[in-house]
Assembly symmetry: C2
Homo-oligomer: 185 residues x 2
């Protein structure tokens, strides 16, 4: 028996609770490997991309924005939701330019990860963008952001103080430090 | 005017959609900085902890488990939800021992981050645990996990192949690599 089989939770029934603009919520009843049943609360999300934009002088371009679930502003790498059928790389280029005005000569996939696999299927694709040139930002109509440029030390300080405090940006920050350590050899 | 004021989204009304065991879902109508209104879909979650457990011989202890939102098993660092009022560090020790059987002599906070601040308030506290000693695992009744020990290279390979594919584990992996690079000087 494979790991998948041994750990599998079969759906007995599924109830849609909410079908919104960004998320869909359902509750599944599942059959556990031990024959018992359990409820699983599941949030469906169309997925998202984020970009770690590194300038030629070794800074990261970030955005400060208000996040309603947290009731405060935080500093993050540029990111956005995938449109239906949109390629992640296309989305990454669009979001970087819309939010910050920067265009990048080169994109490299750093990681694709689920932000919270216990209850959500949101998949986040994170790219490193280099060869940046600056243009004009043009955020979405209901998007209000401030653009920042941070050195690695400045970004790490914002992580320590809690202004940088979201999974994709923290992961990107650790990866950026790796990159710098590898470059220093 | 502070950044917070300039970017703030005031709540006009709030509607609870679902109040479940793990998540609560609400839809807020907000007043945007430009005077327009918008809807914000918000998932409330009590928060969670995760532990990067590093063995004396330089391996990471991980767990393979089935994640219903993804309909497959993935490999993750040990993690679990906070009980109401529980201290994150207490939760970290409990989850590490329950899921893997390991106890750790030393815990260090690596990062606290929001897993998906666009729609959820789940805060994840990630610890590095060292000085591990092995006992017996005793997972929750509805929790089925397999325990693995991985070298950094093995873990990076599982990241490349997509078996390691969640935010907390990817962030922990990058941080672990940093730690190794720093130790090598």
């Amino acid at each position: 028996m494979s790991d998948q089989d041994r750990l599998y939770e079969k759906t007995i029934s599924s109830q849609t609770i909410y079908d919104g603009r960004i998320i869909k919520v359902k509750v599944d009843e599942v059959l556990l490997p031990n024959g018992k049943t359990a409820k699983r609360e599941i949030v469906n999300h169309q997925g998202a991309v984020a970009v770690l934009p590194l300038t030629p002088d070794g800074k990261m371009v970030a955005v400060r924005q208000f996040r309603k679930p947290l009731e405060r502003t935080i500093v993050e790498i540029p990111a956005g939701k995938l449109e239906p059928g949109e390629e992640p790389l296309t989305c990454a280029k669009r979001e970087l330019e819309e939010e910050t005005g920067y265009q990048a000569a080169s994109y490299e996939l750093l990681s694709s990860f689920y932000t919270s696999p216990g209850f959500a299927d949101e998949l986040m694709h994170v790219y490193v963008a280099t060869g940046l040139t600056k243009g004009e930002s043009r955020p979405d109509e209901d998007e209000f952001v401030e653009v920042l440029e941070l050195t690695l030390e400045e970004a790490k300080e914002l992580h320590r103080t809690g202004e940088i405090c979201d999974a994709k940006t923290v992961a990107a920050l650790f990866a950026w430090e790796n990159r710098v350590l590898h470059e220093r050899g």
